[in-house]
Amino acid sequence: MSENMISFIIGALFGVALLLGGLADPDKIIGTLRLKDFHAMRTIAVFVLIGMLGTWILEMEGVAHFSVKPAAIVAVLLGGALLGVGFGLTGYCPGTGLACAAAGRLDALITVIGMFVGALVFILIYPSIVQPIDAIANHGKKMLPEITGISRTVWVLALSGVGFFVLLVTGLKKKSLPQSE
């Protein structure tokens, strides 16, 4: 199978999972950011934990494909803030916006159009604004184990503890355990 075909299938599975999992639902995202509806937060916690555990196992087997982004600290902080404002305003992000537009949400389609305009803005300001900011405190494509000298295994176990703590606390608070589903 070609590389593009494999990616298409992975993308299709991702689209199905975002939609059925409720992350491609702006009401669920806003509910989680407002700490009123913990469905999306708990889904995200499990998503990240399984991804982290699976990647750790694949790395030990020597079959993981990594694609680490550069740790340009200032650009990443600024980008996270801008994306956060858009995320909190709309309930969409680049992937769920596409998925929600496909599910018939016209407001998501408007947000997708806004994102294409945002991409144009990014291209136009890239030489003058983005590049200089990206160069500040840029540590390159680093991972936590190599930066800290603490092994991936210890990191994964510690962060799994944090993840289970989030699941425990949000479960106690809202009693949203799955027995009724």
Binding site: E3, F8, I9, I10, L13, F14, G15, V16, L19, G21, G22, L23, K28, G31, R34, D37, T43, G51, M52, G54, T55, L58, H65, S67, K69, P70, I73, A75, G79, G80, A81, L82, L83, G84, V85, G86, F87, T90, G91, G95, L98, A101, A102, A103, G104, R105, G114, V117, G118, V121, F122, I123, Y126, Q131, D134, L144, I147, R152, W155, P178
Partner: protein, 178 residues
């Protein structure tokens, strides 16, 4: 018009997270971690190459091969749209909607306001995602899967600004189906 209530997701949280996590593991084992937002720039870069080839070919970012070709990242996004459409149809969740429950509870039924906020939000989302070298998929979910250093500052500002903005824009809470 049905009563204003946030509908339950088709899957419970643990199943939803499990399936998403397994898709990530499949992606890391076969191709590379999930990521979505680069392709918005690729589409614009290809259009700009048609209408302003000199500008594009002198540009430090979009002149590169990565931004001038529909490669595996593009096909992942096409798959995402197809998968979401099929899932919505099969699960009975396909519905033409113009606004959300949280928006209506806080800002009434006017669609123009929702569309304007959605358009401006879209601009911020993509400029932010590319500044950060990735979005909620490529930088947050995939960043933590790989334990990348960049995921740490990204997570802090993404959720801090996301929560403050949601708190300002959506002060009133609607009914939420349990």
């Amino acid at each position: 018009m049905e009563a204003l209530k946030v509908q339950k997701a088709p899957l419970p949280w643990w199943a939803a997270g499990l399936v998403l996590g397994l898709v990530q593991v499949l992606a890391v084992s076969l191709s590379g971690p999930l990521g979505v937002s680069t392709q918005y720039v690729v589409v614009d870069a290809k259009i700009m190459n048609e209408i302003a080839p000199e500008y594009t070919q002198a540009h430090p970012l979009i002149s590169s091969d990565k931004y001038q070709k529909f490669d595996k990242g593009w096909w992942l996004d096409v798959g995402l749209v197809v998968g979401a459409l099929l899932a919505a149809l099969v699960a009975g969740r396909f519905k033409i909607r113009t606004t959300t429950v949280w928006w209506q509870i806080n800002h009434g039924s006017s669609v123009a306001g929702r569309f304007l906020a959605g358009f401006l939000g879209g601009i911020l989302i993509l400029v932010g995602a590319r500044f950060a070298h990735g979005c909620t998929s490529g930088q947050f979910a995939s960043g933590w899967a790989q334990l990348s250093l960049a995921a740490v500052p990204f997570t802090i500002t993404l959720f801090a600004f996301g929560m403050i903005t949601a708190w300002l824009v959506y002060p009133k809470t609607p009914d939420i189906e349990k």
